[in-house]
């Protein structure tokens, strides 16, 4: 019968006019709109929902919120699946496909349940003591078996293409949890005009007012909550965030929060989840309290619930629990028994270890304990040990109430440690653990509704005063104000296995064994038994487990202390916190003005920093990169080539002290440079190693334009800002990046001047000269510099004209037997000339290592100079050399190591390594650059390039790194 276990007329959250069909393990069920998977299954009489982690014991729903340790399911849609979803949190929608997880064979006959029989051998930490022999069996046999058995749900293995988002929010007061204290606090602050964010995990605000529905202000508490929410919703200074769990507290009033935006709907256009970064000037933690079970033998069967879970499932969803036994050590359990009775539920027994001089409408077993249960796939009966002996009582539901743990986890996220409250038998937050945040309501141990309402108001008032706002007149409504008392009972001593951590299958025996073996600090116990490490993060088990440990060690609970509470409060998907990162979103893409044209020419693009640059420009018939690159190189050497070099960083440096400043950041002297001239510059880090290189053009007396490498641009700008602001802020110098303002193209080759001539009247520049020019009426800049060794120019125009200029240059060059060239050719050209890039200046080399020691001016200080002169940097260093194969046909490879010809390829014999290689059509062989011990003294020596990784051994001759045109005549006139 469908929805057989629904109480007529009950269930605030469900809409009985809207039936919703879904499947669980392929079987169709009907629930109502507003149901969770857990409540809908319970309403259909299903108690078994999953299997435990280690012993594969049958497990049912225990709670009504995110703390539930048992109801882990997979949610499937369109070939994608989400594992480890709490059945208590997943709202049902039409067509929802929910499945149980972690079993072999059907859920009700899990073959892995054999583990339960082997439990004596699977004690805490057993795996540290075995599986050690033979050694080779670990990776081959033991570990794969353990891995297969472990784990819970499954990922699909397919890319998660769902939409996720992140967002920022700001407020004066963040109220975390919309129960009685939270609602009262939000109302108080909102009426004071504060900007308030009220966040609640549930889809409807009210917290426990929706579950046990006490009277508030003369009406049902749920109705009172609805009226407060309605008032708040109408106020412009209030933001209500439902289905939103605050997951972590970070520094300076920053909170992480997960909003389940559309998980309650069939997949559509809206984001699945949104991860919020909320910055709040003040915060109130009103997250309530979580009930804990009592450890007694076989307390883990489906049908055993937390009393609060039962009350929640009844009040919110109208779930009918059948005949109920309640086992409680505190007054809220007794209240629940009375309340259920009043609602017509049969309480078969109320069991309490305390002496209780009460007469009730239901059987009360005082000074009694539950010592066992039966029912393989669902509870059948409960054994109660009492003064008169042991009674077995038939029941469908056993509700446990072992007391309440205030939900103060968030208050501990900044390393604060809570303190033990003997009255509450629980840990509570201390004031000031999170600056600007206070804890209120039952999260602070105020157990009655009236006390929570009052406290919420008072804590909000205190926050308002701190915010400089006045506290509005507001009457705190009347409500139940029952006293509450508890007599701690953590575990029933009656033999058998009594569960503490239901999710990870940790029993009292495991905790005691940890203590017995000396793992007696709470951290050791947790790590040895794995208690608290399951998806529920020990929400229902941590305090009980450490109490059992404290008893075993005799240290007492306060001295035992808690483990560290860390974010996130509930598990948070990687996709939500990583929203925007998928695919291209991880980092911005920077596109050249030549990008479209380049791609149209079918050039494969490669990443250069955040930029995309062409690798080569293939022509018809060219089947590989090598053919194209060789052609491009020879074209540059013989005719002319065009290359977009706009990715190089360009920094505009101006002011009367600009030259003086550049003298300080470059190793060489820029102040002697004449206007209209360009100089190569080398920049060190303060540790003396080469940071970057580039050119420095003096475009006017007090105006320079310096270039950086593509990847070094950001670091160089920061560095120059630092040097300026930290050491010479009073100098007349200002810097700004102009990288983006100019599109710049290299024109290189014997016909460069001819190409240039098509741009209009161009000045005749000497090598390393620069000038302002006008191109087609547009102001531009012309530099005569060369990274190819040929006569070379770089022409720059405002970026908007870059596309047009590139098109023109390529067309013009092609008309002169020239071409566009890409990074492969650029690399070959510069290797032929021995020009360095970041492959050589990789962060571990000095100016001297790359043969530029003389560029560190002796006449002045500069950044990095002092450290570069340390004695150890001149001993036994590897120096930049050129490498040519002895046998011209052989291929060189970068990353290979260098050895003397006869030495083995072993570390002790290492002589250096290869940084760059290129096939050189000019020289007719591969060329390499590398670093070799004492290399400059070894030109002419034959050594071995050894690339064991690629099985390559090549004899190479050490030579000057400038292979081609060492005099540089081709670059000059």
């Amino acid at each position: 019968m469908t929805q057989s276990h629904r109480i007529p007329g009950k269930g605030l959250m469900i809409d009985r006019t809207r039936p919703v069909r879904f499947t669980f393990d392929g079987k169709g069920y009907e629930g109502f709109a507003g149901d969770s998977v857990a409540s809908a299954l319970l309403a259909n009489g299903e108690r078994l929902i999953g299997r435990s982690f280690k012993y594969h014991r049958p497990r049912g729903v225990m709670a009504a919120g995110s703390e539930d340790p048992n109801s882990l399911i997979e949610v499937h849609e369109n070939g994608q699946q989400t594992p480890n979803v709490r059945g208590t949190m997943q709202e049902i929608f039409e067509g929802l496909d929910a499945r149980s997880q972690n079993h072999v064979g059907p859920l009700n006959f899990d073959l892995m349940a054999v583990n339960d029989l082997l439990a004596p051998f699977f004690s805490a930490g057993f795996y540290y003591k075995t599986f050690m022999w033979p050694r080779a069996f670990w990776e081959k046999l033991y570990e794969p078996a353990i891995r297969r058995a472990a784990g819970l749900g499954r990922l699909s293995g397919k890319h998660d293409m769902g939409l996720y988002e992140k967002a920022f929010a700001f407020c004066d007061l963040l109220v975390i949890g919309a129960g009685p204290a939270g609602l009262m606090a939000a109302l108080t602050a909102a009426r004071a005009g504060a900007e308030v964010i009220l966040a609640d995990e549930d889809r409807r605000m009210g917290g426990r007012l929706l579950a046990d529905q006490p009277e508030v202000d003369g009406q049902n508490g749920a109705d009172w909550a609805a009226s407060v929410v309605a008032e708040l919703a109408a106020m412009p200074n209030v933001t209500l965030m439902t289905r939103t769990t605050v997951t972590g507290v970070y520094d300076d009033g920053t909170f992480g929060a997960l909003e389940r935006v559309s998980l309650h709907r069939a997949p559509g256009e809206a984001p699945r989840e949104c991860f919020w970064r909320i910055h709040a000037k003040r915060a109130l933690l009103t997250a309530g309290a979580l009930e804990r079970p009592i450890a007694h033998p076989d307390n883990d069967r489906p049908g055993v619930m937390l009393a609060s879970g039962l009350v929640g499932q009844m009040g919110k969803f109208g779930v009918n629990p059948g005949k109920v036994v309640i086992f409680s050590n505190n007054d809220s359990g007794l209240h629940t028994a009375r309340s259920l009775t009043a609602q017509g539920i049969e309480i078969a027994a109320y069991v309490d270890p305390r002496p209780l001089p009460v007469t009730e409408e239901f059987p009360v077993y005082a000074e009694a304990e539950v010592v066992g249960t039966r029912g393989r796939l669902g509870l059948k009966d409960v054994s109660i040990r009492h003064k008169g002996g042991t009674s077995v009582i038939a029941a469908r539901t056993l509700a446990l109430s072992g007391g309440w743990n205030p939900t103060m986890h968030l208050a501990c996220h900044l390393n604060g440690r809570p303190e033990w409250s003997p009255e509450l038998a629980a840990f509570v937050a201390k004031p000031g653990m999170v600056p600007g945040m206070s804890v209120s309501g039952s999260a602070a141990g105020f157990m009655s509704t009236r006390a929570a309402l009052l406290d919420g108001h008072q804590k909000a008032a205190a926050a308002l005063i701190e915010l400089g706002l006045s506290v509005p007149e507001i009457s705190v409504p009347e409500s139940e104000d029952r006293p509450w008392a508890i007599s701690p009972l953590w575990a029933v001593d009656a033999g058998g296995r009594a569960w503490l951590d239901f999710a990870n299958d940790v029993t009292t025996k495991d905790v005691k064994l940890a203590a017995q073996e000396g793992y007696s600090s709470v951290e050791h116990m947790k790590r040895y038994t794995t208690q608290g490490m399951a998806p529920d993060q020990g929400k229902t088990s941590n305090v009980s487990a450490l109490a059992v440990l404290a008893e075993a060690t005799g240290k007492g609970i306060p001295a035992t202390g808690t483990t560290t509470y860390r974010p996130p409060f509930i598990p948070v998907s990687i996709a939500s916190m990583g929203a925007g990162g998928r695919g291209e979103g991880f980092a911005p893409q920077r596109l050249l003005t030549s990008d479209a044209k380049t791609r149209a020419m079918k050039a494969p693009m490669i990443e250069a920093g955040l930029w995309y640059r062409p690798s080569y420009f293939p022509r018809a018939g060219e089947t590989d990169w090598r053919t194209a690159a060789d052609r491009e190189v020879l074209t540059v050497r013989e005719h002319v080539g065009v290359c977009d070099v706009s990715t190089l960083g360009k920094i505009d440096v101006q002011g009367a002290d600009a030259a003086r400043f550049l003298d300080f950041v470059y190793t060489n002297t820029m102040s002697t440079l004449k206007p209209g001239r360009v100089r190569y510059g080398l920049m060190l880090r303060e540790d003396g190693m080469v940071m970057d290189d580039g050119t420095c053009a003096r475009v006017a007396e007090d105006h320079f334009v310096v270039t950086t490498t593509t990847s070094g641009a950001g670091q160089v700008m920061r560095h120059m800002d630092f040097v300026h602001q930290a050491f010479c802020a009073d100098w007349d110098v200002r810097m700004i990046s102009v990288t983006e303002a100019w599109a710049q193209f290299a024109i290189a080759g014997p016909k460069a001047k001819a190409v240039l001539a098509t741009l209009g009247e161009m000045p005749s520049l000497p090598f390393m000269g620069c000038a302002d020019v006008t191109i087609g009426g547009v102001k531009g800049r012309l530099f005569r510099i060369s990274f190819s060794g040929e006569e070379g120019y770089e022409v720059a125009v405002p970026t908007r004209f870059g596309t047009a200029l590139f098109d023109h240059l390529v067309a013009t060059a092609e008309g002169m037997e020239g071409c566009a060239y890409g990074m492969e050719a650029l690399n070959a050209l510069r290797v032929e000339k021995g020009f360095i890039t970041h492959a050589e200046i990789h962060g571990r080399v000095t100016a001297d290592d790359v043969g530029l020691g003389k560029m560190v001016s002796a006449k002045k200080d500069c950044i990095g100079k002092a450290a570069s002169q340390r004695p150890g940097l001149f001993e036994d260093r590897e120096q930049l050399v050129g490498l040519m194969p002895v046998n011209q046909g052989e291929t060189l490879s970068a990353g290979a190591h260098l050895y003397n010809e006869k030495d083995p390829a072993q570390r002790e014999f290492n002589q250096g390594y290869v940084t760059s290689v290129a096939p050189s059509p000019t020289m007719g062989c591969w060329l390499g650059l590398g670093f070799l011990k004492n290399g400059r003294a070894r030109y002419g020596e034959v050594i071995r390039l050894d690339d064991g990784l690629r099985g390559r051994k090549v004899l190479v001759e050490v030579c000057n790194p400038v292979f081609f045109d060492p005099e540089g005549g081709r670059m000059r006139d």
């Binding site: 970070y250 520094d251 300076d252 009033g253 920053t254 970064r277 910055h279 900044l414 600056p435 303060e686 540790d687 700008m717 920061r718 800002d721 630092f722 602001q725 930290a726 050491f727 010479c728 802020a729 009073d730 100098w731 200080d861 100079k865 002092a866 450290a867 340390r870």
Partner: protein, 89 residues
């Protein structure tokens, strides 16, 4: 974590680049010797408590000296590093 930029106001940590202890402002003379440079570049008090360190507010390009606590992450004060060099702001 939030750090007040002296010109932009309170900003998220994600807008900053970190640059280590403020010792780095006290640059020795070129010829101060190995010990002085070792002290400047490498050796650190590295206090568990109040420290002064350097942050670059990337959006506005200001270098900021921050006084803060390395144990609590509390930010106590901030100022431009240029305030020391005696100019600008």
């Amino acid at each position: 974590m939030r750090i007040p930029c002296p010109c932009c106001g309170d900003r998220d940590r994600r807008e900053y680049t970190y640059y280590g202890a403020a010792d780095f402002l006290d640059r020795p003379a070129e010829d101060a010797g190995l010990e002085a440079w070792d002290n400047y570049l490498h050796l650190r008090d590295n206090p568990a408590g109040v420290t002064r360190d350097l942050w670059y507010h990337d959006p506005c390009q200001s270098w900021v000296e921050v006084e803060r606590n390395t144990v609590t992450h509390e930010v106590l004060s901030t100022r431009f590093v240029s305030a020391k060099a005696g100019a600008s702001a």
